[in-house]
Amino acid sequence: MPLVLAVLVVLVVLAATTLEAADRQLTDDHRYKRDPVFLDANTLIYVVQARPEQLQLVQRDLKSGKQRPVHKDETRSELEPAVSPDGRFLAFLQSRSAASVGMVIEDLRQKKTAEIPPASGFSGMRSPAFSHDGKRVLYVFAEGGRQKIFSCTTSAGDRKVLVDASGICNWPSVSRDGRMLLYGSTRDGNYEIYRARASDGSGLRRLTRHKAQDVRPRFSPDGRRVVFVSNRDGNREIYVMGVDGSGVTRLTEHPERDDYPTWHPDGKRIVYVAERKGGFDLRIRDVP
């Protein structure tokens, strides 16, 4: 009997350990967070509400747990960071004045920046993402009531439209081999996820078909899977599916919100923002 009990205890401990390994909390300050992205396998950049009027980019070392502002003296809000595949460039949004948001492309090696300033009046870009070779930045901008996907060079030149469809397009993501583009669009009514050729936006294929919102798609590093967010089960949760839209699997399940997933460079895990007990923290979990 004592032996059986001991085995049971060991099994329980093992199960608990496994669960902990599968989903672990990375931060514990509970401040509002969003937009995590990996700079390298050990370094996260994400957005935190540093003060009521400022969203701040912070950089966190996963081994030490130490974090610091990416731009120490910046007082304007900065959000939606994106990192080029080689880690050289950081693109992000930066607030300028009332409802006026520009996009900055920072060369982390040469310590210089390029930018697309906001247009006059209320104006803003959205959702920067890098091409597979890190030479172009995709971003979203609205004109004429249509929110389109554009691209530009890392020096903010050669701006051109990549996707121009009715409704609202958002969250571009390019596969690591450079062949495919993922994005969300309302062209068929509500937010769904689509795949197209990254070169010109042609060859459109709809990957999700649900009355709920399917948003924020991101290619896995190996380009075989897509992580995305949906409220199809009542609240925001994180899902993964194949690049053809098959095999949709729910990764998170909690009465509160799980959002903003990003792949770890190893392709086996994701980091996401979990709203728990009224606070917001980063968590990391395995993707089966």
């Binding site: 009521p52 009027e53 607030s95 104006s123 009531g145 009514g189 509500n190 919102q213 959002d259």
Partner: protein, 449 residues
């Protein structure tokens, strides 16, 4: 510090069709014969006491899109309807967007007005109209509904009669909403400002009047009096002539432990604070609930979260000229959908909802047609409000907007009607309003009685 404004105003506001139909109710006043007002015109004249011992206005500053929240138009053309799906609510035949599942699950606890009409498309002016019933110009500005109810009730205890909870006086990037306070009543009837941080800590700016005086030193009366003299001189130098009431209120709060405790959300259980959420708006709502529990007559809970911080050093509220759909989806609606049901549940579980009128409203709605920036601009021609508690009939809609959400099809409801209805439910009669010279020509939203 006490925030002091300069007040100018006039009373105007052309009667709506509905107001015109009800003009008879206020005709004695128009004729200069208030004595002709007879019993039965006002619910508050029944002698049974106010249905609402307290009023809680949840002020969604910045103006939420009605189409993307409580009045979706799924069959409208794509350039109108927006990207969100709709979901069923607890109210048969009524659907919200899928951004608000928790509020949808308690829709039977409120009445939804979908036919508000205002006249001012700018935030400060529109805010004043929404909160006073009248335009700012040419002045003087009329009193906020809260000042009216507080003055009618009179002072009772050490807590103020009109509280504003959030992050200070509501303002846009240019200026404050002049209708935030006492208006023609004078600054003595301004709301007592309660500033709440996202950790729940509370700042009472009025206590700056008594700089250097802490609760622990209050027992030292000699020290207190000397400090008060300093405060009096400082106020006089600042040109604040009505310092007495502000001082009394601040002193009362400092001197009365139970009054101070009413502001202390750390007295709530951790689970309660978590349910509201550690955000400015969440913790502000918890403070507001405590104020209602303490029977403050009128609390205005201001949307207080700088939700996206896309404008430097400015609380943008629901003013989504850009990123409307992203911001509603990412931040505004999840926050509202967490806090409002929690507040309603809390009030109900504590037995407060029966005697508390809860009104969720804003200064206007947003353009049904999506703008060139794929967002929505200001739209005073049609917007929504929610009403609950104090015995108002719930689980239905009042008024209907047209197929694009551009104009009311039925029951156009003006801000003046909102103020009149709030005051009536708070126990004021037509005669009371006439005696205070407020809300002239105002009529009631009959469906709420």
């Amino acid at each position: 510090m006490i925030n002091v404004g300069q007040f100018r105003s006039r009373t105007c506001g052309g009667p709506s069709r509905r107001a015109f139909l009800k003009l008879g109710a206020s005709l004695p006043l128009v004729l200069g014969r208030p004595d002709l007002l007879s019993a039965g015109l006002s619910a508050g004249e029944s002698g049974s006491g106010p249905r609402a011992k307290s009023v809680l206005v949840v002020w969604l500053w910045g103006a939420p899109s009605h189409l993307d929240t409580f009045d979706p138009k799924p069959d409208a053309p794509s350039e109108y309807r927006g990207p969100f799906s709709t979901i069923a609510t607890r109210t048969p035949g009524v659907r919200f967007t899928d951004l608000l599942p928790r509020i949808a699950s308690i829709s039977d606890r409120f009445a939804l007005v979908r036919s508000h009409v205002s006249t001012q498309p700018g935030h400060p002016d529109g805010g004043t109209v929404a909160l006073t019933g009248f335009h700012e110009k040419p002045g003087p500005v009329q009193p906020n509904f809260g000042a009216i109810v507080a003055r009618h009730r009179g002072r009772d205890g050490d807590l103020p009669g009109f509280l504003s909870v959030g992050r200070g006086i509501i303002q846009d990037s240019a200026r404050i909403v002049e209708g935030y306070g006492g208006g023609t009543f004078g600054k003595a009837w301004d709301p007592f400002q309660v500033v709440v941080k996202n950790d729940g800590s509370v700042d009472l700016p009025a206590l700056d009047l008594l700089e250097g005086i802490t609760p622990g030193r209050i027992s030292d009366r000699r020290s207190l009096l000397s400090q008060i003299d300093v405060g009096r001189r400082r106020l006089a130098a600042a040109g604040i002539d009505d310092w007495e009431r502000a001082y009394q209120m601040a002193y009362g709060l400092l001197a009365n432990p139970s009054a101070r405790e009413a502001f202390d959300v750390t007295r709530e259980s951790e689970s309660t604070r978590q349910r509201y959420g550690y955000t400015h708006f969440g913790q502000s709502a918890l403070v507001a609930r405590r104020m209602i529990e303490a029977r403050v007559p009128y609390v205005q809970l201001n949307w207080s979260q700088t939700v996206e911080a896309i404008t430097p050093n400015f609380d943008f509220g629901w003013d989504t000229h850009i990123y409307n759909f992203e911001m509603l989806m990412d931040r505004h609606c999840p926050l509202l959908d967490r806090v409002l049901p929690e507040l309603m549940n809390d009030l109900q579980e504590r037995g407060l909802l029966e005697e508390t009128l809860v009104v969720v409203m804003s200064e206007f709605g947003r353009t049904p047609k999506i703008n060139p920036r794929a967002a929505r601009d200001h739209w005073p021609q049609c917007y929504f409000s929610l009403w609950s508690g104090a015995g108002v009939p719930t689980g239905g809609t009042i008024g209907e907007s047209d197929r694009l959400g551009e104009h009311p099809l039925t029951n156009p409801i003006s801000p003046l009607m909102v103020g009149t209805t709030i005051s009536e439910l708070a126990g004021m009669t037509t005669k009371d309003r006439a005696e205070l010279n407020v809300l002239p020509g105002g009529t009631l939203i009959d469906e709420l009685f």
